[in-house]
């Protein structure tokens, strides 16, 4: 496979096109503008359509419409823009529509900044209004971002549910070698779509259920899909966990920074490993619960969001500590080394 040196945003966009995405609706926001920019050019070449919507809210309703007629569709934004898209995404979840959303996070709250941050773990895994979750995938390299985007379209169709790719400037702006795998199209049932009802009763795509009993049933049906995701779709990576006495928990590029720190700590004789969730929802609970370690140090570019899921996973059996940088500050391997060394020397339990 030929390797190309590509920016993360462009690799994400190209992977989407190769997975059959022909429609993109979005609204510009740094640091992900290269995604709509690439799509505006590339979709034209493959006979697709690109619309720069009048707002994020409009874009999230345009993807609703496209998915309702059975098209592969994507939108992308960054933290405050994702807040605006939450309404439309909840409608997509309620109407069981397969859509792919890319969130290249930035620091918050409010308008915040544009440098790398993981401040949207909560609004990604536990999103806007209504009982629902997107399936959330968090790549740590540009190669993995491209691979996960291709998977995202299949997962969206498989579960008829929004799938989110969660990155930040380190994924969106960085360049690394990428080899696109040959995408193998799969058949999905599209008999529910609203694409002309000649000779059959009309289909209705809707999230409005005024009868509480029917809406309750609908909620249960949606959560049955999430139970299946928890059984079949959990993904994670472990690194040097075989003989680890201490465990770092980190997702995305932060996990790579941890790996560099772990190499140094291992040289000092501190047996530390790493668990990197790749699916943030469904969360890889079992691997954390089964890790026989003295403590877990959760490291995030946030004030501590994923740590709640790590704590729920270990059910109080393993102490979970926290180290975070925020506002767009990226932790260095050295400061992670210092933190772990300090905890090791102080005999933290």
């Amino acid at each position: 496979m030929e390797k190309l040196m590509m920016k993360g945003s462009e690799a994400i966009a190209e992977a989407a096109v190769r997975a059959g995405c022909r429609l993109f609706f979005g609204y510009p926001i740094t640091p992900q503008n290269e995604i709509p920019e690439y799509m505006s050019r590339r979709l034209f070449e493959v006979g697709g359509q690109f619309v720069q919507a009048e707002s994020e809210v409009a874009a999230s309703n345009m993807i609703y419409g496209a998915a309702a007629v059975g098209a592969r569709v994507m939108t992308s934004s960054s933290s405050p823009g994702i807040s605006l898209k939450q309404e439309g995404l909840s409608y997509c979840a309620g109407s069981e529509l397969p859509v792919v959303v890319v969130n290249i996070m930035r620091g918050g709250p409010g308008l915040g900044g544009i440098q790398p941050s993981q401040s949207d773990y909560w609004q990604s895994t536990k999103p806007g209004h209504g009982d629902w979750h997107p399936l959330v995938l968090a790549p740590s390299t540009i190669q993995e971002a491209a691979d996960l985007v291709m998977d995202a379209f299949d997962l969206a169709d498989e579960y008829r549910n929004p799938v989110m790719i969660l990155g930040y400037g380190l994924i969106g702006q960085m360049m690394e070698p990428v080899a696109f795998r040959e995408y193998q199209p799969r058949e999905f049932d599209k008999s529910w779509t609203t694409c002309g009802c000649k000779g059959r009763p009309p289909n209705i795509v809707n999230s409005l259920y005024l009868d509480p009993n029917i809406l309750e049933e609908h909620n249960h049906a949606i959560f049955q899909k999430y139970e299946r995701m928890k059984r079949e779709e959990v993904r994670f990576e472990t690194f040097r966990m075989d003989d680890a006495r201490f465990c770092l928990a980190a997702y995305g590029t932060v996990a790579r920074i941890c790996k560099t720190a772990i190499a140094q700590l291992r040289d000092e004789g501190i047996k530390v490993g790493l668990i990197r969730p790749i699916t943030l929802f469904p969360f890889p609970e079992a691997v954390f619960r089964e890790a026989r370690v003295r403590w877990i140090l959760d490291i995030e570019m946030s004030m501590g969001q994923m740590i709640e899921d790590v704590r729920l996973a270990v059910r109080g059996r393993t102490p979970v500590h926290f180290y975070g940088r925020v506002g767009g500050v990226v932790p260095t391997p050295d400061e992670i080394v210092r933190k772990v060394r300090e905890m090791y020397k102080e005999g933290v339990k």
């Binding site: 390797k3 040196m5 960085m174 360049m175 690394e176 070698p177 590029t253 920074i257 190499a263 260095t332």
Partner: protein
């Protein structure tokens, strides 16, 4: 072996491009490579930089607080990155635009009159970035000159007429750095 290098200058000097050329060349040589730009609101003539990591192994942290090398094309970049270099690191200084010497004594320094050489020897004033890249390549083994030239040809397909001048600028930079060894 891992190489980390920051390319820094003001907007328009082509520091992002030479970083991408090195990353591409490293990839073409079968190595792992990663290019990370500074991004954000900048004004024309403002500062720009990118970090390139080249390694035989999968790259851990793409963030490098103490890089092994820096190629600085203007004075603000030198002031910013000289103190950050790791001890024993390499500093390539564009002496055409930087009027001071390095203040650290625990690093290797190459002074290259990049703008002057590009303008008067190569007759291509905008190739100063290639002279500086050559000076870096000439001292390290991050990528071979031949592969960097291949990467140049691939990357600059729509600017093919500038290719001979850029290749000559790279060679000139390499010879300058070897003279100072």
């Amino acid at each position: 072996m891992q190489y980390e290098v920051v390319f820094a200058g003001f907007g328009g000097q082509g520091v992002m491009l030479i970083g991408q050329l090195l990353a591409n060349a490293a990839m073409m040589q079968g190595k792992e490579a990663c290019w990370m730009p500074s991004y954000g609101p900048e004004m024309r003539g403002g500062t720009a930089n990118c970090t390139v990591v080249v390694s035989d192994e999968p790259i851990g942290s793409p963030v490098v607080p103490a890089p092994g090398a820096a190629v600085v094309m203007n004075r603000p970049s030198m002031d910013k990155f000289e103190p950050m270099l790791k001890p024993g690191g390499l500093l390539v200084v564009n002496s055409s635009l930087i009027d001071r010497k390095a203040s650290r004594t625990d690093i290797d320094v190459i002074y290259v009159d990049a703008n002057h050489l590009a303008e008067h020897t190569i007759k291509s004033p905008r190739s100063a970035n290639m002279v500086a890249l050559g000076a870096y390549i000439g001292r390290t083994n991050a990528a071979t000159p031949e592969i960097v030239k291949e990467a140049m040809a691939k990357k600059m397909t729509n600017k093919a007429r500038f290719l001979p001048a850029n290749k000559a600028a790279l060679d000139l930079g390499i010879s300058v750095s070897r003279e100072q060894e």
